[in-house]
């Protein structure tokens, strides 16, 4: 029965006039052809609607490990409603923790994007979708 259900769901998608992936707004401002990794430290985690936001402070260092530049990235993600059903909790990220984040960056070149995967130091991976 479950397989039948999936087949029916797929068939009917083609007849639907509006099935948003991201309910609130178009994600056309993000470049989904350019996956990009950020290594940094969480400075803000907003567990809010219509979107969650994660701020990550990323250091650029010279060959001696000295910090040349620090940039704070603003990363937008799914609502708490969607993320909680993908295993997230309001306590999933805390300020100060180090993370590796896979993102689609903003097309306009600003330090922002939408996050896809958050890899924590303990090995846990949090996914936006799936």
């Amino acid at each position: 029965m479950r397989n039948l259900r999936i087949v029916i769901a797929v068939i009917f998608i083609n007849f639907s006039i509006s099935l948003p992936i991201n309910a609130h707004h178009s994600f056309a401002m993000f470049d989904d052809k350019s996956e990009m990794w950020l290594d940094g430290t969480i400075t803000l985690f907003q567990w809010t609607n219509p979107h969650t936001f994660i701020h990550v402070l990323v250091d650029t260092r010279d060959d001696n490990g000295e910090i040349l530049e620090q940039v704070e990235w603003s990363l937008e993600g799914g609502s708490p409603n969607i993320l909680s059903r993908n295993g997230w909790k309001r306590t999933s990220l805390v300020e100060g923790e180090k993370v590796r984040v896979l993102i689609y960056p903003l097309k306009d070149g600003n330090a922002g994007g939408t996050f896809l995967e958050i890899h924590k130091e303990d090995g846990t991976v949090l996914y936006y979708h799936g």
Binding site: M1, L4, R5, I6, I8, A9, F12, I13, N14, F15, S16, I17, S18, L19, P20, I21, A23, H24, H25, S26, F27, A28, M29, E35, L44, Q46, T48, N49, P50, H51, F53, E76, G78, S79, P80, N81, I82, S84, R85, N86, L102, K107, L116, E117, Y127, Y128, H129, G130
Partner: protein, 259 residues
């Protein structure tokens, strides 16, 4: 003691009375009550497949929808074009908040909960806590002078075998039917909630509008029950960083006010 017995008799009477009202719902052994989710959303399809978004085998996003502005009458095509021109002045990704109303609320990627009570089916959507009330205890819509244009309209419902039918009229024109397509106050929607099994319904929505559409729009969506889910809160204005400011740029939300 006598008082207690008479109270019990009264409560029993109320119980039996209410049960008789429920019975018309249950003759099919299908139960509308519970938490339901749109099975067609990207996240639900990925979860069924056990995949994540970047998996090479991940199902694609839904294809571009076939139905667009060509279904609009000339008058409503002008309304559509004017609105698209206004939106084109805003920065990409900006989005204001607002109620979706019918029929868009049905396609949102959030669940809804159905409650049954005598003469009534109540649908509580997670999205903006919007509520639809479907009346089983009357077979006519409200008279015109009481039919105030609204986001969800006036709904009456009845069973046809395995299918729960909802007929809705009386919409305001603040909403679109999706993809920016406007509609008039004359829009009417017939939904056929057909049970596939006890936990799954296929909802066919036929959306007609003699003023705005050249032909009815037909949407079909599969929903299934999620007994372990609880309905959360979702209010778009909580922290809408994507709201357009007066220059049409992203306003930035409430970042400084939140922890």
């Amino acid at each position: 003691m006598a008082k207690k017995i008479s109270l019990n008799c009264f409560l029993l009477f109320i119980f039996l009375f209410d049960y008789s009202a429920y019975a018309q719902l249950n003759e099919n052994n299908f139960d509308l009550s519970g938490v339901w989710m749109n099975d067609n959303t990207l996240d639900e399809r990925l979860k069924r497949a056990g995949l994540t978004r970047l998996d090479p085998n991940a199902p694609n996003a839904p294809p571009p929808q076939a139905v667009g502005a060509e279904i609009l009458t000339d008058e409503y095509r002008l309304i559509y074009d004017r609105e698209q021109e206004r939106l084109s002045q805003l920065a990409v990704g900006t989005a204001a908040c607002g109620w979706q109303g019918m029929p868009r609320i049905m396609t949102y990627p959030y669940p809804f909960e159905i409650l049954l009570s005598p003469g009534r089916v109540t649908i509580i959507y997670e999205t903006e806590s919007q509520v639809r009330r479907v009346y089983l205890d009357r077979n006519e819509h409200l008279p015109f002078d009481e039919l105030d244009p609204s986001y969800q309209g006036d709904s009456i419902g009845w069973w046809e075998g395995d299918t729960f039918v909802i007929d809705t009229v009386g919409f305001n024109t603040i909403t679109t039917v999706g993809r920016g397509l406007p509609h008039s106050e004359e829009m009417y929607i017939v939904e056929r909630w057909q049970f596939i099994d006890e936990d799954t319904v296929n909802v066919e929505m036929v959306i007609s509008d003699p003023l705005a559409f050249r032909e009815p729009l037909v949407q079909e969506i599969v929903y299934s029950k999620r007994p372990s889910w609880r309905i959360r809160e979702y209010h778009c204005e909580e922290n809408n960083r994507d709201a357009p400011d007066e220059d049409g740029q992203r306003a930035g939300g409430l970042a400084e006010n939140l922890n």
